[in-house]
């Protein structure tokens, strides 16, 4: 193992890869943080309302939080695909697209089974 970080910007393809990875990771990280925060708040609020108050929409709020949580990983694949394609990285754009299609097909297939 090397002890030093590869000097960025020494070669131009290296630099563009590093920048692409950075952009994708930044967007994905932001999306995951947002998804986590929104779903955790909705679930917590829903549970507190259900347990401590007589209002009836507690479980519905929890469900909204759970749906947000389930959508988050798919949105991050979508976001990564858009960024890869915008950066001209067709290979990874296609990789992300096929993942999304397989997940969608799995969902549709699972529904009928």
């Amino acid at each position: 193992m090397e002890d030093t970080r590869t000097p960025e910007g020494s070669r131009s393809p290296e630099r563009s890869v590093a920048r692409g990875v950075e952009q994708v990771e930044l967007a994905v990280s932001l999306l995951l943080r947002l998804g986590t925060a929104v779903s955790a708040c909705l679930i917590a609020a829903g549970l507190v309302l259900f347990l401590a108050t007589p209002v009836s929409f507690g479980p519905a709020l929890v469900t909204a939080g759970l749906v947000t949580l389930v959508c988050t990983p798919l949105l991050r694949v979508l976001a990564a695909m858009v960024i890869y394609l915008r950066l001209g990285d067709v290979t990874y754009g296609v990789i992300c697209l096929s993942v999304l299609l397989f997940v969608l097909a799995g969902f549709l297939l699972g529904q009928t089974h």
């Binding site: 990875v21 986590t36 955790a40 549970l47 479980p59 939080g65 759970l66 988050t72 993942v99 699972g110």
Partner: protein
Amino acid sequence: MTPTLLTLSVLGTAVAAGLVGSMLGLGGGIIIVPALTLLFGYDFRTAVAASAVSIIATSTGAAVAYLRDHITNTRVAMFLEVGSTLGALSGAFIAGYLPTRFLFILFSILMAYSAYAMFRARKTELPEGVVPDRVSQRLQLRGSYYDKALGRTVSYHATGAIPGLLLMYVSGAVAGLLGVGGGTFKVPAMDIVMRLPIKVSTATSNFMIGVTAAATASVYFVRGDVDPLVAGPVALGVLGGALLGSRLMVKLKGSTLRLLFVPLLLYVAAQMAWKGVTY
């Protein structure tokens, strides 16, 4: 038990599951399902649906810290997700044509072998002398991260991209066919075949499992198996546990992480062998 006490107990169990799952790169379903059915008396469908949600919570909760520390390799993850999602998809198609008992026994042996390989490499902190193959080079399956336990930056390169992809396909199909061991199989595959540092394998596996579970969880949602009053506290607790676990894991040594894996793999191997024998 009062509803509040029950919710809090489920929440507490979920925190533990999130902690373990996020540190070892698996969904924590091996804790959630037995806990909900045996400890709290929920039926199997509700427990499995809550477990699918918990996999997403582990993945999402832990990914925040792992991405910030650059331990997750997003390229490796996206590439391998092609295999795991396609595997999960085709698992349903081929389910009727494969001898389930044989599969259970086969995977039990594979898991036991993984445990042995992990144990043998227990003193290895980082993989050495990795020669990247052509596909790994073409897809730039490499990266570097700052290792907090070692106090230095670690650069690595993957190898065996195609065998790795095939194993992810198998892991996805197995998770679909046998209902167990999807996440548990991914980490040894990345560790042993793709020769990635153990922390990268764990964090990347963690990142990947959320996508496959999203398809499964949406199916359970449509079927009405997701009980918000069970899955809600599970998701919340697991998110909290995963946030905590991911901060803990980056401070651990890779060799410690390996040792934590050995009993887990042996447990899954025994569970699969038992299911195969009694099937």
